[in-house]
Subunit: 158 residues, 2 copies
DNA sequence: TAGGTTAGTCAACGTGGTTGACCAAACCGT
DNA sequence: ACGGTTTGGTCAACCACGTTGACTAACCTA
């Protein structure tokens, strides 16, 4: 039987988590835009991460991201048009088309990692390194492990 | 100059925040579905919250949610079709159309608040009340105040 | 009363998701 | 070696949510 604390209603917690996520992502993309990647959207960073330096295929990408292969293919199309990804034939399997990062895509991915490190550093300066680490540890215990589903738009809207 | 901790790369923090948010919202809607609201989507809960028990107009709703009045109007259309909202004429201003919660919508809103309290309670049992309160306090200090923009789909995808 | 502002709607479009259908290539058991 | 199944990619249609631009009706005010 829940005995809510009137001072801390439960609905605030998800809003704060979302706000934290959003400020980090907004700050990332403000800085990415300044560093030559103004067209990168929040979703794109996750896709580049999922493609990785080894490359992958649209089907596998969809699997990693938790969306259909068609949805993954369309997103790849857009990132190809933006110059972040490229397709190549697989010499060993004529059905497969490898999706790879272009140099521009790799640049964006590397800069994202550096910027994220800097943002976390900023949090540790404000809150203290132990508090940030505690937040990470706590969140890990209350969320399912190996979490990497990025179907955020479809998930949120249905 | 960021001096990242190799054990705690910065990109993990936003993923954990998103995972925490998503876990709470998923659990909420699993329970809401069980309690007679299977059609409610994550976005809808925020909209019902923004409409509130006093009702509002589409323009004002768009303002609260940080989206255009057209987008707000379309979302209201869908929630009217689902039976959660209703429109009524304003006797004092023929231009305005009041958007109000139906009894079904009010029921969903109240149940959401109760379920959220229960979910927060579950976190306090796992982590301890002090840790959960610390997470809330910490997130409040690193995120902008009075935060309530819910243009999540458009924000995430561009 | 004329002119500007505000609320709502319609239309066109972009992005991201879905399912269903289809083809070609690869795999596999006989 | 062949025929059936599985797999990868694409196309088409559709839905949810966002945008901007254009328009009407109603209100407000100088």
């Amino acid at each position: 039987m829940p005995t809510p604390e009137p001072q801390r209603p439960g609905f605030v917690l998800p809003l704060l988590l979302l706000a934290g996520f959003r400020t980090l992502i907004d700050d990332l993309h403000t800085e990415l835009a300044r560093q030559g990647h103004p067209e990168l959207r929040p979703l794109h960073g996750f896709v580049l991460q999922a493609v990785g330096t080894d490359g992958t295929t649209a089907s596998e990408l969809g699997h990693r991201l938790g969306v259909s292969k068609q949805a993954a293919g369309k997103t790849v199309d857009r990132l190809v048009a933006l110059g972040y990804l490229e397709r190549a034939d697989d010499s060993r399997d004529a059905r497969r088309k490898l999706v790879r990062l272009t140099p521009h895509g790799l640049d964006g991915l590397r800069r994202s990692a550096v910027i994220f490190d800097g943002l976390r550093q900023r949090w540790t300066q404000t809150l203290g390194a132990d508090r940030v680490a505690a937040i990470e540890d706590d969140l890990r215990t209350v969320t399912p492990a190996n979490w990497f589903r990025l179907d955020v738009p479809g998930w949120f809207t249905g």
